[in-house]
Amino acid sequence: MKAPDFSYEKPTSISDVLALLANDELDSQLLAGGQSLMPMMNFRMANPGTLVDISGVSELAGITECTDTIEIGAMVRYCELEQSTIIKTHCPLITLVLPYVAHAAIRNRGTIGGSIGLSDPAAELPAVLLALDGSIEVTSRNGVRLEPASSFFKGVYETACEPDELITKIILPKAHLKQNFGFHEVARRHGDYAMAGVCIAQDSDLSIRVAFFGVADKAIRATNVERLLSGSASFSHDVIKDAQNATSEIEFEGDMNASPEAKQHIANVVLERALKGMK
């Protein structure tokens, strides 16, 4: 399982990255943390002509606290998120979720930009972004734009980011004191991709966002579920039951571990456990 041959570039600026991506002859692919791309290359399922290593682009580094938001550079690694006081203070949902993402050695290298850009249906961070209603800053030669998370994840390994574009930042709203977060995932073994998982963010006005992962072709908000849960300060047995019935809006997809029916069943279980864990 040796990777096929390629050219290697390590640009130091965003504009250099974009130039490389725009050059069709190079057949470029971005290398961020490498924890998803390198396995694919070793399996020879990815075969780019040029690998563009963006770990040297300083503009993609750093976690910045702004007035209402937290801006996370695309190259910020999971371990930096784990250790960051800014994240622990202002994005507690991320802190809740990170121990479930793979294992320490993977988190030392994998990046938030890589995870968002890949859109693996079973990954946690896309669902976190959906629950927090974050946005993704996408930079191209045409300029910079903000993509809302709610329309960013389109399908398996498919996002609103084009092949010649670069995710440069993840922008998340700072958590309010009165905000409430929930998270639960179930995996066959610790650190595995989830059989089903859910991220929940309840705002101070009791509006709520419920994002599932591991159950469909992408991380997905369950809007019917959200409607039923919205406005509740606490979740009674009956409210949870109704919410569980409403998950049938999701087009559940089976995988090696579970059929669509099992996915739906377990999605309901994680929903209940996440809701009960919120207080």
């Binding site: 399982m1 040796k2 990777a3 096929p4 041959d5 390629f6 050219s7 290697y8 390590k10 490498g34 924890q35 390198m38 396995p39 070793n42 399996f43 690998l51 290593d53 770990s55 371990c79 793979a102 294992h103 320490a104 050695a105 993977i106 030392n108 290298r109 073994r189 610790h190 650190g191």
Partner: protein, 158 residues
């Protein structure tokens, strides 16, 4: 034509300057270019943990890192854990407690264990198990490894 690059990398305190195929991963580089075969390859897709070592002070799967990405970096492998990672006591406890049988997972398991201890974690068996849960061992059933790690932490705490 294979693309190559020259890299300068420090491994276990020793500096090397080598030409490498750009597509060669760090594990293969250590094993075939430097003759440091203590780092093992088990799956080449980052799941089994056998290839785990220290890159600039933190653990990483060397099968998922290109050798060119280690240019200018400090790498520590099992050949250096006794001296460069102060891990003599951990190694002694692995030995005494039989925390290895075939030895193939050991390099990666030591790296992950050293990381756990360096981060100041407690001798809590469930926490230890969680931390090493990305390192596959087929021989031991893990219990002896957990014993050895906990013994080391307890000894260090006096």
């Amino acid at each position: 034509m294979t693309k190559t690059a020259q890299i300068a990398v420090t491994v276990n305190g020793e500096k090397y300057v080598e030409d490498v195929p750009v597509r060669m991963n760090l594990a293969d580089f250590l094993r075939t270019k430097l003759g440091l075969t203590g780092t093992h390859v088990g799956c080449e897709h980052g799941v089994c943990g056998a290839c785990t070592l220290f890159l600039d002070g933190v653990t990483a799967r060397s099968c998922l890192i290109l050798a060119v990405q280690a240019d200018g970096a400090q790498v520590t492998t099992i050949e250096g854990y006794e001296t460069d990672k102060n891990a003599s006591d951990l190694i002694k406890n692995f030995h005494n407690r039989n925390a290895l049988q075939c030895g193939y997972c050991t390099a990666g398991m030591l790296a992950t264990s050293i990381e756990y201890i360096e981060q100041g974690n407690p001798a809590d068996r469930e926490k230890v198990k969680e931390h090493i849960s990305g390192n596959y061992c087929r021989c031991t059933g893990y219990q002896a490894i957990v014993d050895a790690i906990c013994t080391t932490i307890e000894e260090r705490q006096g």
